[in-house]
Symmetry: C2
Subunit: 304 residues, 2 copies
């Protein structure tokens, strides 16, 4: 597979998947979700199972007629019902990806995380992977975790790293470069995440994550700006050339995400990993374009 | 005083101070520090006490001759000696601002934090205030703490807020708008800093910080982007219009700082507050321009 370095190539490459993915959408009522569905149908990049929990403000019947065999609609009494039904369909293999429409994220996650009938197997870690296309950076940049895990334990860091690397590979990156983020290069007991980083690097050297470069602790600039590493005299295949940024806590991850979006004028996409199928939980404020890119990311990741 | 909204006005306004500030520089050996000194002398914006700990690679004698009465040079045996001497001179009132040259930050801070002969009075909190000029933001933005306090306690948050507001006032902002940062708007025991935020807001309402708006928790985008707050239906004089961002921990503050500098193409300046005189500790990688702006910020703040 050709390596994907920007969002247009990412969405475009959906067409080259051997089979179209089927996406279960919970409450496809809003206009951004409508945009995603119509675009994927038109570009022949995905099929849909629409679980409608009411309040749909566009003509679902029309797309069923326009694209026969590619859209199935299931009515549900409430958004919570819709979430339960969609999760059930994914569990039974009727859909490859779960996508949030206008349902509240907390309500969707309740169904996803249900111990008996959800999508997270016992003992698995659920985490969020963000893809970022930033002006001035020559390739896609992945960040984790900007949304789900407040203060990762070693096990959670390990899972975050695995998921991000796996997403990179599904986009054609042979040897992902992973930066473990902190304010400085110093490992210290005062900052327990830097001790976890030492263990992650040890595991990486032992081959736990396959063909990969893992380095840190280092700051955002050292990870993404070749000059900064040189000034500091650091020699590492990760410095100035990171594909993945692993953040020490949710506040720093979220700060990066929001700052890149607002001040870095970056395009963002994202998905939940660790579940039996990828889950797209783009927020209601996201543009249709951003939601479509998130869907494409999830479809490519589920094809791995 | 006219409100200062960008760095050029900030450095320019140094000229309008009633008296020129005197700056003690520890180890003025490097070319960036030379640039700052020569520029301030030429523009008549500051006078200098240069405590030279060796390794100076430019002609200090020349500036003494060129600007008679405005430059004093003191030799020191080592950088540590230079730090001790410069701190002593500031303590005795011979200089208004302390500035780091090519000495290591840790070594300088050892002299600054010395319990008997340093610049931090017993029981005071030392914190870092960063000023940011970002393309696309219509005014200066202040962030704290990106460099010193790992995980602020309530007392430390209180001091950080006071220092940042005081710096804003020294730049002519009548009613600073302070955003208390987190990933969401939710106050929760799971995130103890959000509980501190509640107390800070209570104190602000009671007038502890003077004429000021304090609100949060909120994320970077809600604080700095008017649209985000509107989308979420939040009404606050701080949303989308923040002057000060108070970060919950050093990792998130540092991430903001580095991301703004690299991806936000922002200009940065900074200083230490809480000490008996402001301390400029710009890092060696900073440009001469950035160092000069930091010096200007410290001189204006010390004129308060």
């Amino acid at each position: 597979m050709q390596r994907i370095c920007d969002f247009d190539t990412l969405t475009g490459s959906l067409r080259s998947l051997p089979t179209r993915k089927r996406v279960a959408v919970v409450c496809p009522g809003d206009s951004h979700t409508e945009y995603v569905i119509r675009r994927a149908l038109e570009e022949q990049t995905a099929d849909f199972l629409l679980v409608d929990g009411g309040l749909t403000r566009w003509n679902i019947g029309e797309v069923c007629r326009l694209y026969p065999g590619r859209v199935e609609v299931r009515p549900a009494a409430t958004p919570d019902d819709a979430a339960r039904m969609a999760v059930e369909m994914v569990r039974e293999g009727h859909a490859d990806v779960l996508m949030k429409g206008s349902i509240n994220t907390d309500n969707l996650l309740r169904a996803v995380l249900d111990k008996e009938r959800g999508l997270l197997e016992r003992g698995r870690v659920m985490s969020h992977v963000t893809a970022i296309e930033a002006p001035g950076y020559s390739k896609l940049l992945f960040a984790t975790d900007v949304a789900v895990i407040p203060r990762p334990t070693l096990d959670q860091f390990d899972a975050m790293l695995r998921y991000a690397v796996s997403v990179c590979r599904s986009l054609g990156m042979a040897v992902p470069r992973v930066a473990l983020l902190h304010c400085t290069e110093k490992v210290s007991e005062k900052f327990p995440h830097t001790l976890s980083y030492e263990e992650l690097k040890r595991r990486a050297r032992e081959g736990a994550y396959g063909d990969v470069f893992v380095d840190g602790p280092m700051d955002v600039k050292t990870a993404c700006d070749p000059e900064s590493g040189e000034l500091k005299g650091i020699k590492s295949p990760v410095c100035g050339n990171a594909d993945v940024l692993v953040f020490p806590n949710i506040e720093s991850g979220n700060t990066f995400y929001k700052t890149m979006s607002l001040f870095g004028r970056a395009r963002m996409a994202g998905m939940l990993c660790g579940t039996t199928a990828p889950v797209v939980v783009a927020s209601r404020a996201d543009t249709g374009d951003s939601k479509y890119t998130s869907l494409a990311l999830a479809c490519l990741a589920s094809a791995e």
